[in-house]
């Protein structure tokens, strides 16, 4: 065996991944060649340097907790999606009561309406707001299931905006916020509060953000109201023309930035 071959096999030899015949050939060569023995010493030193436990990256305790929470959420959503479609509208409430599994329908209905309304809202005082918040949260969660996110997948607002024409009796503003780090990935028609609304989907670092938009018939109040429901952030304000509801699992600060950017348009 020559040095060049020995160098190729040395690493596998030290990993104990060579068959017996090859191992013996490497051993023989090492016994004869000082340079390759030095290479072996260096490889061994490199190995122990790489196995330094301090080089191993550790997730923070906080991250582990967040991960556990999102797994639990996924399990509950999965339990939900296995149920027949007529229970779909109970979805928001049953995020909380999912562990009950198959509760007789009548009992579930009572629990869901109570628990659902209680947990979603306490920052948004008006009961009408509470109903809408439940609906947009349900719309957001439904949109995360495979194939439900977008009707028109496009990062071009000149594609997304015209797509809504004919489907809605209003024209939603579709601002391009890419320079601020918000990628438009598409749009979808959704139903909230008994009416068709525009849902714009923006993305940042894998997090999807649903922006629900429809004409505002109340007085304008650009104060951003916020709510935190089971790991999701919900933001809401009434613009001069449109009312906005923003939902995502993105952290509060970044989502508020998006809300302010949208409000400025």
């Amino acid at each position: 065996m020559k040095c060049d071959d020995s160098r190729i096999y040395l690493s596998a030899y030290l990993d104990d991944e060579l068959d017996v015949a090859e191992s013996i050939r490497v051993q023989k060569h090492l016994a004869e060649c000082r340079e390759c023995r030095e290479a072996q010493d260096q490889q061994l030193a490199l190995r122990s340097a790489l196995r330094d436990p301090e080089l191993h990256a550790h997730p923070s305790a906080d991250f582990s907790k967040r991960l556990q929470a999102s797994l639990r959420r996924a399990a509950k959503e999965e339990a939900q999606s296995r149920r027949p479609a007529w229970t779909d509208w109970l979805r928001v409430g049953s995020l909380r009561i999912g562990y009950l599994g198959w509760v007789p329908a009548a009992a579930a209905l009572v629990i869901v309406t109570t628990v659902g309304a209680l947990f979603v809202m306490n920052g948004m005082r008006s009961s009408h707001d509470q109903v809408i918040a439940s609906a947009v949260l349900a719309g957001h969660i439904r949109s995360l299931q495979a194939g439900h996110l977008m009707d028109v997948p496009s990062s071009d607002r000149h594609t997304v905006k015209p797509w809504f024409q004919g489907k809605l009796d209003f024209s939603p503003p579709v601002p391009d916020l890419s320079e601020m780090g918000w990628t438009l990935i598409g749009g979808r028609l959704d139903y909230v509060d008994g009416r068709p609304v525009a849902a714009l989907i923006y993305q940042r670092r894998m997090h999807n953000i649903n922006v629900f938009v429809w004409p505002n018939h109340d007085s304008a109040d650009s104060t951003i109201k916020e709510e935190d429901a089971q790991g999701y952030q919900i933001l809401h304000w009434n613009g001069a023309e449109m009312t906005y509801w923003v939902v995502s699992d993105l952290n509060r600060e970044e989502l508020l930035d998006l809300a302010r950017a949208l409000r400025g348009h």
Partner: protein, 186 residues
């Protein structure tokens, strides 16, 4: 299996490998923040595909998902220019002084090792991380990164040789590494 039972088994079989998953994602993305996003997505994918795990070892199965999620994530979130990878002929750092009498000492300074590993082209980096930090066998690495056994062997050998040369001469600047071929026009 109800969703709750599935969650229970998942937490029993998969969650113990969170550290390994995170470590791999951290070394592939080279950022703690990115690693969290990647692991979060990989775990949700693993959860929805959990029924497909039958009798295999959970750790390489999970690491395969983490690895694929990392690569997709990198493609989607980084300009191609920032991403380094290696084709089959990287520019190696030069072999130091040929003086046969001089005993070449390898620097084991932790920060130098960390820097060297971060700069190792990603195809080699993942093989080295899976082997040295996660203790996977060549066969498991071959399954995880989807290349033949011979390629695993050669990547490990060349990757380690690259590291070795850098660490013998830690003060020399690194040779430029070509940006990933897949990013430009073909």
């Amino acid at each position: 299996m109800t969703s709750q039972e599935k969650l229970g088994r998942f937490e029993e079989q998969i969650s113990p490998h969170l550290k390994s998953a995170y470590n791999l994602a951290r070394w592939l993305t080279r950022s703690h923040e990115d690693a969290e996003d990647v692991v979060q997505e990989a775990f949700l994918r693993a959860f929805s595909a959990f029924e497909n795990l039958r009798g295999e070892d959970a750790k390489p199965w999970l690491l395969t998902i983490v690895r694929n999620t990392s690569l997709t994530w990198l493609k989607r979130n980084r300009n191609a220019g920032a991403q380094v990878s290696i084709d089959e002929s990287p520019q190696d750092p030069s072999e130091p002084s040929p003086d046969p009498e001089e005993i070449l000492l390898l620097s084991c300074d932790r920060e130098q090792v960390r820097r060297a590993l971060e700069q190792l082209p990603s195809d080699f980096r993942e093989a080295v991380v899976l082997r040295e930090m996660e203790g996977l066998s060549y066969k498991e690495i071959s399954t995880t990164i989807g290349v033949p056994l011979g390629t695993v062997m050669s990547r490990l050998s060349r990757g380690r040789d690259w590291l070795r040369r850098i660490l013998i001469n830690p003060d020399t600047s690194l040779s430029p590494v070509k940006p990933e071929g897949g990013s430009g026009p073909k």
